[in-house]
Amino acid sequence: MAAPELHRFTLPNGLRVVLAPDRTAPVVGVSVHYDVGFRSEPEGRTGFAHLFEHLMFQGSESLEKLAHFRLVQSSGGTFNGSTHPDYTDYYEVLPSAALERALFLEADRMRAPRITEENLRNQVDVVKEEIRLRVLNTPYGGFPWIWLPPVLYGTFPNAHNGYGDFSELEQANLDDCAAFFDTYYAPGNAVLTVAGDFTVERATELVHQHFEDVPARPTPQRPSFAEPHPRSELRGTHTDPHAPLPALAVGYRLPDPSTELDAYLAHVVLTGVLSDGDSSRLQERMVHREALVTDISVSCGLFGAPLDARDPDTLNVTAMHSPEVSVDRVLGVLDEEVEKLAVSGPQPEELARVAARWAASLHREQDRIVSRTLAFGAAELLHGRAELAAELPELLSAVTTEQVAAAAKSLRPDARAVLVVPAAGGAQ
């Protein structure tokens, strides 16, 4: 892919800024990534990082409640935010005429969000509805991202439910919010990304104008969430009252992308060899030839996107299977196929196909300005290099057969978590 033109600078208050101009369409994307996710929320306050994300939309010093939504949308734009293990992002995509307005909105809530008891209680209710919609009232809700980590991990940050328990959400108070904001939402703990139709000079000037007087605050020491790899196969069961078919998830630890990026990327390629398309190893055998599973998918990252978290990160296998097929049969075939790759690695044509599909899917993603903006922001925040988002196709195409074989070798049956979801009504 044509290397994007990236510019970066840091304001005196510590805010890191990435500019990615692209004049092909008259739209802009603006995002702010804060270096705090649900791994940082304290015990007794599960779901707090996500709840706080909602509160950041509830007004700020210059903006009444509802004004944020109204101003973005009446400028012709769209907005959202999302909470991940290691970061929380906020974004707007708008016609380019609204660039300054978007920067103003983000600066205002970075400087002085309006957090009130009334809005807190209202958003606790909204978040509970979100959890009912996405988790409690739907088959395979939260599978595997909520239910697999407590099997694979032993420490609270890595293992707990990032959506949170209702009782803990209800206990959240204004003081929690104030402490969370002052600790984690400092400008020095954030990355601002601007992508799309603008000149670097103008965007730089506007960023200075709107963000420069956000007061600097100390940035928190980022804790290590490291914990040892499992030393045996760990098993757990999740009861899903709506699941029509049994499902299972297998979690393996991934290499640390900050110290072993090549090995991490080899795992990304491995996931493609295993499950991307009808010709992939697991789909070909398990879905079609032997009809063991309805669907099977292998991915890096809890939400299915590689490099979306710091260490520790998870490689997930998820499968839905008919009640006649046992969990051990599914695991047995998975292990056989992984073992074959560990011994001989993939064929060169397989590697070429996986690289081509990754390149295509990354091009498509980057063609959407929202994904492009967020990808640059997340890569800058987590890995210190926005460029990584654009370089991925080339990096993945450089992965060798031997590296993929080594990755396959690391998926050890005696160092993984297996989560079983029986079908509702008891059929395994």
Binding site: I115, F180, P220, P241, D278, A352, R368
Partner: protein
């Protein structure tokens, strides 16, 4: 909870300088006009190719009208769609995927009561392969015994999964309630119907209904329109028939009336789904109704969302939108709410419908919705895939790229009076029917009290 000392929430919300003035919007550049070829080729296929070179990809959308009135049509069509890309005379399933993967390609087929859709993409220089695999499937799909058998099993499991999802349960109930036994209402076959479909049935349906005349192919990407049309002609030369693809029979008009309560024992959340007859994009009143709908529930800054989410916390997701049907359009109102507040949310949704006609949108509401409608046309067509989807959706109802280009002008010209009239005429509560899916034991007493709901 974290920092040892920190400010209070009150202190955080204020700075010495105080609130700041909102910056004005800048000047808006227009989207560059892409080069386009829009033509009908010899076999009757409507082909639209748009050059959009932002990334080295090409997006493909094929739309084949695919209606049928036979009670088994839905099952046969589903099996056909699931098996269409599982092998041809010269490629087996693995070869289809291997060839596509080599050019970063994907193709997938889905069917609904109105049409068979094949969508995909590839690296732009892989377009010849993408077209070759597509043409191969269109002209020589094999429907091999073992592939059809496996796809039937998976389809049955997917149907079982779909029908355990509240949104699907609500959709099926609404379709039956709105359209009775019209083929449009049957979006998913029964498992026992799927079991009765043989490979020969899929082959026969393919022969009779996978037809170019009346169908549409859209390609958008880093490609040259003229030579791409030539490439399409060459690739699809073997795809032909004198017959035309099959259009859905005209739908009955949706009439207002009591909503139906559908019992889902033990549900912790209910689905409210309301619907009324609307007008298609070709109607001169459409831009006014588009803006009226936005003000009601068509975007976040709407009366419905600000009421039942941001004020009352009844829901995470509430929205209203157009559903474009083959012969027109309907308006839909969706909200998922906890059982304890479902009747109250239904009350508020109806209240806001009534209020929209009685207390017409203010100038500020109109201007916000208008800007959103114009701006979202820009943002939603800024990517190749967004543009391909939009061009395909418009072309299937006979609208060209010019309609898309001119629509901002129509939106800009709509007056407040026209919007108020559209709100009163189309968004009136008496026009709406619908369903509420939830735990009837919890919901019935309050729903009985507010009325307008048929209880089980």
């Amino acid at each position: 909870m974290t920092a040892v000392t920190h400010r209070t929430a009150e202190q955080i919300g204020h700075t010495e300088r105080g609130p700041r003035p909102l910056p004005d919007l800048g000047a808006q550049a227009e989207a560059a006009l892409p080069s386009i070829v829009d033509t009908v080729i010899d076999n009757g296929l409507h082909v639209i190719v748009v050059r959009r070179p932002a990334v080295p990809m090409v997006e493909l959308r094929l739309r084949i009208p695919f209606a049928g009135t036979d009670p088994m049509h839905s099952a046969r069509a589903e099996v056909l769609a699931n098996a269409l890309l599982t092998g041809t005379k010269r490629r087996n399933r693995t070869q289809v995927d291997t060839d596509l993967a080599a050019v970063g390609g994907d193709l997938a087929a889905v069917v609904d009561p109105e049409r068979l859709s094949v969508g995909g993409s590839a690296l732009a220089d892989g377009l010849p392969v993408l077209l070759d695999v597509l043409a191969d499937a269109l002209t020589e799909a094999a429907y091999r015994e073992e592939e059809v058998g496996r796809e039937k099993e998976r389809l049955t499991e997917r149907i079982q999964l779909a029908r355990s999802q509240p949104s699907v349960i609500a959709r099926e109930a609404l379709q039956r309630y709105r359209y009775g036994d019209h083929p449009f209402a049957k979006e998913m076959p029964e498992a026992e119907e799927v079991a009765r479909v043989e490979p020969a049935d899929a082959r026969a349906l393919h022969q009779a209904a996978v037809l170019p005349k009346g169908s549409l192919l859209v390609l958008v990407g880093d490609i040259d329109p003229d030579s791409t049309v030539d490439a399409v002609r060459a690739a699809l030369t073997g795809w032909g028939s004198a017959a035309s693809a099959s259009l859905l029979p005209v739908l009955p008009t949706v009439t207002g009336g009591d909503a139906l309560l559908v019992h889902r024992p033990g549900a912790v959340q209910s689905q409210i789904r309301l619907s009324a007859q609307a007008i298609p994009r070709t109607d001169p009143r459409y831009p006014a109704l588009q803006i009226a709908n936005l003000v009601y529930g068509g975007y976040f800054s709407s009366r419905l969302v600000e009421n039942i989410r941001e004020d009352k916390g009844y829901t995470y997701s509430a929205h209203s939108y157009f559903e474009f049907t083959p012969s027109g359009a309907t308006l839909m109102v969706d909200a998922d709410t906890a059982s304890s507040v479902t009747p109250a949310a239904l009350w508020e949704a109806r209240y806001e419908l009534g209020r929209l006609g009685l207390v017409p949108p203010t100038e500020a509401e109109v201007n916000a919705a208008r800007s959103y409608a114009i701006g979202s046309l820009l943002t939603s067509t800024a990517s190749q895939s967004g543009l391909a989807g939009t061009v395909a959706a418009l072309a299937t109802v006979g609208l060209t790229f010019d309609w898309l280009r001119e629509h901002p002008l129509r939106l800009a010209a709509v007056t407040g009076e026209q919007i108020a009239a559209a709100a009163l005429e189309f968004l009136a509560p008496v026009n709406f029917t619908g369903v509420v899916v939830g735990d009837a034991e919890q919901l019935a007493p309050q729903l009985r009290a507010i009325g307008g709901v048929v209880l089980p």
